[in-house]
């Protein structure tokens, strides 16, 4: 993986995914190691994403790396009209690796083609966010002891949610049975369903959340955004249909864990937080270990 950019989840093979998860486990045991002291990590956030940026900066700083960068485009030369190409070419002189978030789809792929250093995509518009997918895989692996043969439910906005698309595609490598719960307007796009079908995997679609809960090992919740609906009335009809409450978990499996990419608004009520099956905040912590693993693998300080 040394010097390889991570733009799309499919840029890394299944074996490389497994290696990242192993490394993340090692960092979970020893998160503070000064093994990146000789490195400079640039975090270029062309649009703000506090959570992702802090997670990366925490990962880099705990390993002793120096972090430089900007937190949104208005405080950078982009505002003066500099092209993405010029920004990337310039910044790659100053650092060993670039972590970038950009509002336009394909920006990270382009950056990886012009940069002299590897690029980690921290989200390019609605396209890809591979480090989120890897931390989701890590969370599933850690809580279930395996990635193979699991029943995974995805709930909420399956049409626009980029985390859902990438995770579904990654899980297609592990003989997953998919349970897809969404309003009719927000069903999983056929292009993503095609990846499930190509692997001859089983999937079921539902509009009701309650009936799926007893069937699954992982419940992956997402937020339904009002602006996705052309008719506000359609939103009003479904907005409360995909809310998870603690009293709905009575029949759930003992190994069930609830995941959410965060931020949460109201789709998981706060009374779920104290249930041991709630895992979303630990999932965010796992993000730091996974990003430590990715930085080290790409910078070549671990094999």
């Amino acid at each position: 993986m040394k010097n390889k950019s991570l733009v799309s989840i499919n840029d890394f093979t299944r074996e490389e995914h497994v290696r990242i998860l192993e490394l993340a486990g090692a960092f979970e045991n020893r998160p503070k190691q000064k093994i990146l002291e000789d490195f400079v990590v640039a975090t270029l956030f062309f649009e703000p994403s506090t959570r992702t940026r802090l997670s990366f900066e925490s990962a880099a700083t705990r390993l002793g790396a120096r972090v430089i960068g900007f937190t949104d485009a208005s405080s950078s030369s982009v505002q003066k009209g500099e092209s993405l190409r010029d920004t990337i070419l310039t910044v790659s002189n100053y650092c060993d690796i670039i972590v970038m978030r950009h509002p336009k789809e394909g920006s990270a792929r382009f950056a990886s083609e012009v940069a002299k250093v590897p690029i980690i995509n921290a989200g390019d518009g609605a396209n890809q966010h591979p480090t989120q997918t890897l931390l989701d895989l890590y969370s599933i692996m850690k809580t279930q002891g395996t990635l193979d043969n699991l029943n995974v439910a995805f709930v909420g906005d399956l049409k626009y949610g980029r985390t859902v698309h990438s995770l579904v595609m990654a899980l297609c490598n592990y003989n997953t049975t998919f349970h897809l719960v969404s309003p009719l307007e927000l069903k999983l796009p056929s292009s993503v369903k095609l990846s499930i079908k190509e692997r001859n995997l089983e999937y079921h679609q539902y509009t009701d959340l309650q009936e799926v809960i007893p069937k699954v090992d992982i419940l992956y919740m997402t937020r339904i955004q009002k602006e996705r609906f052309s008719d506000p009335l359609d939103y009003e009809k479904v907005k409360n249909a995909y809310v998870l409450r603690n009293n709905m978990l009575g029949d759930s499996r003992s190994n069930l864990k609830i995941l959410h990419p965060l931020p949460r608004v109201n789709e998981i009520t706060t009374d779920v937080d104290d249930n041991p099956k709630a895992y979303y905040f630990t999932q965010a912590l796992n993000g730091v270990y996974v990003r430590q693993a990715i930085l080290c693998a790409i910078l070549g300080v671990v094999d």
Binding site: K104, G106, N127
Partner: protein, 156 residues
């Protein structure tokens, strides 16, 4: 040669050596010339447009003297002119006739239909993989979205 061809040959004179690109949809003639970089071609270039065609109603034709295209070069025009026929002429004689074939890749010919794609927001050449030749579906190398036949527009 068919009668139609003979009539047409009268409208656009014959060439001694080179390539004739026939059966081009009328609206695509100038695009084809642009894609093949013929607008600055230094040798003899003859073309006709909106000519009567029994097969197509109206069609265009381009005759390029002393030019023999590589197949990956010529196949680029299949995206705009899937009906086109290539006729290789040597010494005023037809030596070969073939249909254009849709290529596996399309570089900097088509616009990505996704307005949020980086190629529509910065000065970046587009790059596609043709994932379906029958229904014409192009997978954008950058934003990873699919541009289908009904959404295809060509770069200016």
């Amino acid at each position: 040669m068919e009668k139609e061809d003979i009539r047409k040959e009268l409208k656009v004179s014959a060439i001694e050596n080179g390539t004739v690109i026939d059966h081009i949809p009328s609206q695509s003639v100038f695009l084809v010339m642009k894609i093949l970089n013929l607008t600055k071609y230094p040798d003899q270039l003859l073309f006709g447009n909106n000519l009567d065609s029994r097969k197509m109603g109206k069609k265009g034709i381009i005759k390029v003297s002393n030019k023999f295209f590589q197949s990956d070069e010529i196949n680029k025009i299949a995206l705009v002119a899937p009906t086109a026929t290539l006729i290789i002429i040597k010494n005023f004689q037809v030596v070969e006739k073939k249909k254009v074939r849709i290529p596996d890749f399309a570089d900097n010919i088509v616009k990505c239909f996704n307005p949020n794609c980086i190629t529509n927001n910065e000065d970046i050449p587009t790059k596609f993989t043709v994932i379906n030749k029958k229904d014409l579906k192009l997978h954008c190398h950058y934003c990873e979205k699919i541009t289908a036949r009904e959404n295809i527009t060509f770069l200016e």
